[in-house]
């Protein structure tokens, strides 16, 4: 059988990739995709811990994370559409009107 640590390491690597994407990319849609990668990394560790404990709680929390991700994607993409309409750009550096 596969040790718990292997799943946790895969989850950590995916989370780091997602974090790097949020910081490195200059495209709002790719940033939202990176957030999805991070949510999935956490889902994987939830399911692995749940299986290790022998309960279904991990699967259920993953289900809730998925619904929250759906809500986040809907609102985030609506904000992206509204911003694109104002600036004709997806670059977060273009939205600096509130900067001092």
């Amino acid at each position: 059988m596969i040790p718990l640590g292997n799943y946790l390491v895969v989850s950590a690597i995916l989370f780091a990739i997602g974090t790097a994407g949020v910081f490195l990319r200059r495209n709002l849609i790719t940033i939202l995709l990176s957030i999805e990668i991070m949510l999935n990394a956490v889902n994987l560790s939830f399911v692995a811990f749940g299986r290790w404990q022998g309960t279904v709680d991990g699967q259920i929390i993953t289900f809730f994370v998925m619904t929250v991700a759906a809500a986040e994607a809907a609102v985030g993409l609506a904000i992206v559409i509204a911003l694109f309409r104002h600036r004709e750009s997806l670059n977060p550096d273009a939205f600096t009107s509130l900067k001092w």
Binding site: A12, A20, M66, T67, A74
Partner: protein, 177 residues
């Protein structure tokens, strides 16, 4: 040891596809690669005796959320080289600064792996405890969801309603008066 081989294959696919997601200039390719990554993750969920989560991953994530992303990318007809000039002139792109950033990213992975491997049960096999027939059945998941997690489930429905109204309000055209 077919389990172990499959685990490494699917983990490699998930990690590789995710790396390519953040490496692409065109958001369309990023979305396609992320769908591949989600497919590999759902295979890992099946290995973890969670077929319900695996199917929800494919249907909800790959089928609904990613299609929403694709729809927005097509709707905006996004210029994919938009950020190229900004990237070259951005102050954070100077070689010293970006090398420091890459070092921090590697440090984050090393730190996380180090911390996770010190978890006392990291070497314990995942599938030892619990009854597999019980864990894999959707009946068990449903029963726990509608008894122990009843309040969270109802709160989620309110959250989705709020998100739906919010998305409609945000994305609606402003020139109707």
């Amino acid at each position: 040891m077919p389990d172990t081989v499959l685990f490494y294959v699917f983990s490699a696919v998930a990690v590789g596809a995710s790396l390519l997601v953040i490496g692409q200039r065109n958001p369309m390719y990023s979305i396609m690669l992320l769908i591949a990554s989600f497919g590999a993750l759902s295979a890992l969920y099946i290995q973890l005796d969670a077929p319900f989560v695996a199917m929800a991953q494919i249907i909800v994530y790959a089928g609904a959320i990613m299609v929403l992303f694709l729809f927005v990318v097509m709707l905006l007809n996004a210029p994919h080289e938009d950020a190229a000039l900004w990237d070259r002139t951005h102050p954070l792109r100077r070689p010293g600064v970006s090398r420091f950033g890459a070092m921090l990213a590697v440090l984050l992975i090393v730190q996380l792996v180090w911390a996770l491997l010190r978890v006392s049960d990291a070497r314990a096999a995942v599938g030892e405890r619990g009854d597999v027939a019980e864990l894999t059945s959707v009946r068990t998941v449903g029963r726990v969801l509608f008894t122990d997690y009843m309040f969270a489930f109802e709160a989620t429905s309110v959250l989705i309603l709020v998100a739906m109204v919010g998305a409609v309000v945000l994305a609606a055209r402003e020139d109707r008066r």
